[in-house]
Amino acid sequence: MAIKDSTAVDVAVDRFHPEGRVQRPSGAARRRRILRRLTPYLFIAAAVALLVLLTYWPAANLLYFSVTDWDGLDQDLNYVGADNYVRVFTDPRIFEVFYVSLYYFGASFIQIGLALYFATILSFNTRFKNFFRGVLFFPYLINGVAIGFVFLYLFQPDGTLDTVLSWFGLADPPQWVGDPDIANWSLAGTSVWRYMGMNFVLFLGAIQSIPSDIYEAAELDGANKWQQFWAIILPGIRRILGLCFVLSIAGSLSVFEIPFIMTGGANGTSTFVIQTIQTAFTHRQVGIASAMAIVLLAIVLAVTFVQRKLFPDEKVDLT
């Protein structure tokens, strides 16, 4: 599709009525032509209106609130310049929650590793393949609140986890969610349980789209499964793997549901998003909360930009 650059005529080029057609500018014809120019805009109007109203207008407002001291209620708000941003980066109570993201970031490596392992072995000939695929994937579909309760129950003192550990002779287990030194590990583990299936299914799809004759050729050349993994599978899914790593950075910065549902951010498990939400809706400091939201947005955009540079939409060439 070539985009016709018609600078002189502000017009929507309708493929079936190209411009060159001569038309007497009678009233009816003119109305029809205007309508035709408007047609594409009418089709996209609702979607664009909602996009602007619910995404870009709030985003612009965030920028505006972030340089004020607004509390979300009063009519008056004062311009405070970059004060809010300075606070976001200097107030230890705000900034230290970034460290909590590191637990989830670390966990995401385990998550991607496990997903890659299971996707690889299930792409080879395996019994009960669909059963295992279904079981590993299903947690991703479960309601977040339900997952929160399932794991709160699992982590209870004398609960499932403690009972299982006692079978292996591990008495005196810690308070999995109550102890601030342990809580973040428990929550990050829950997050791995929840999201691993999604990475797994993505990897499995990518591996299965590699043409099977490549494996057959490798088999004939005497390559074992391990060599096939390094030489065929890994390069074949490089792009999706890169995408998952980058998404895990953005994901670990915006962790929200699991800690919010399970601990409400108590015991040192508060994340940046929980902190932002509480600043805005509990402490009524919309100005600072907006600055926090903008900082997060800037980081996510930067990460995505780097990802696009590192892993452009290339077709992987295996031949």
Partner: protein, 285 residues
């Protein structure tokens, strides 16, 4: 589907058996780790309060048909209201998403117009904006429209934030040949008729995918109903409110949790193929 048939080589047999055992062992362990948390919740939900207090989490219930906790959860937990509200919000939002999304996709795929690239860019960048934090400002918009604490707020939000759906529709529409449109045009059909009579019916598979994927997403959505609809419950928020009144009554909380999970399980068992396909195409644009 790619399956690799190993060519038997002498000497490699023993090694292959060990590797095979390790493979199945790891799969079984993974399945156990995935299922045990859910199974223990099932155990707890079928126990009486005294039984729950006196048995370990991994002891199966004595009576597998003790549904008393489910009745308590459903009644006192107001889960019926949650399901009804979720159904309303789900239906209206899905219908809205489909109409708005297919129309936008039709406009973007079948026309050339000024500002098209800009619109594409706007949609693309919007996928990157983190959802929860921007609620700080979205809340003010919804509140300003007088929609706070109404289901309309949720419906509007769910309709307005679905960019993935538009991409899926566009992807699918590119496969519908233009000659169909042209033929209809020659027969005198206008653009709306073409969209409504020709393109929309052909988009059925894409619509089904969007209904499933977005349906699950709305069913699971927690923060939007928590923030925008405090006085009523959607299914997530009804369950979340178990935290207070049922405090340590884990047998009731477990029952409520399962009531939320079971519809997802049923949907998954029947729609597996669509779910895998939809999620994969949605994630890798």
């Amino acid at each position: 589907m790619t399956t690799i048939h190993s060519v038997p080589r002498p000497g490699a047999r023993i090694q292959r058996v060990t590797v095979g055992t390790a493979k199945y062992l790891s799969l079984v362990i993974a399945a156990v780790v995935t299922l045990v948390p859910l199974v223990t919740v099932l155990f707890a939900s079928l126990k009486t309060p005294t039984e729950y207090g006196s048995t370990s989490a991994l002891t199966p219930p004595s009576n597998w048909f003790n549904f008393a906790n489910f009745v308590t959860a459903f009644d006192s937990g107001k889960m019926l209201e949650g399901f009804a509200n979720t159904a309303i919000v789900l239906t209206v939002s899905l219908a809205g998403t489909i109409f708005i999304g297919t129309m936008a996709a039709y406009g973007l795929d079948r026309f050339e117009f000024r500002g098209k690239r800009l619109v594409f860019g706007l949609f693309l960048i919007a996928t990157l904006i983190p959802g929860v934090t921007s609620q700080v400002a979205t809340f003010q918009v919804i509140n300003g429209m007088g929609l706070y604490d109404t289901k309309a707020a949720l419906i509007l939000l769910f309709m307005g934030t679905d960019i993935i759906a538009i991409y899926l529709f566009i992807q699918f529409m590119q496969a519908i040949p233009n000659s169909l449109d042209e033929a209809a045009m020659i027969d005198g059909a206008n653009r709306w008729t073409i969209y409504w009579r020709i393109v929309l019916p052909l988009l059925k598979p894409a619509i089904a995918t969007v209904v499933i994927i977005k349906g699950i997403a709305i069913y699971n959505e927690f923060y939007a109903p928590f923030l925008y609809l405090p006085s009523e419950g959607l299914i997530s928020t009804s369950l979340f409110r178990f935290k207070g009144p049922f405090g340590a009554q884990w047998e009731v909380i477990s029952a409520g949790t399962l009531i939320v999970i079971v519809p997802t399980l049923i949907a998954f068992l029947f729609l597996q193929r669509w779910i895998y396909k939809g999620l994969t195409s949605g994630a890798v644009k």
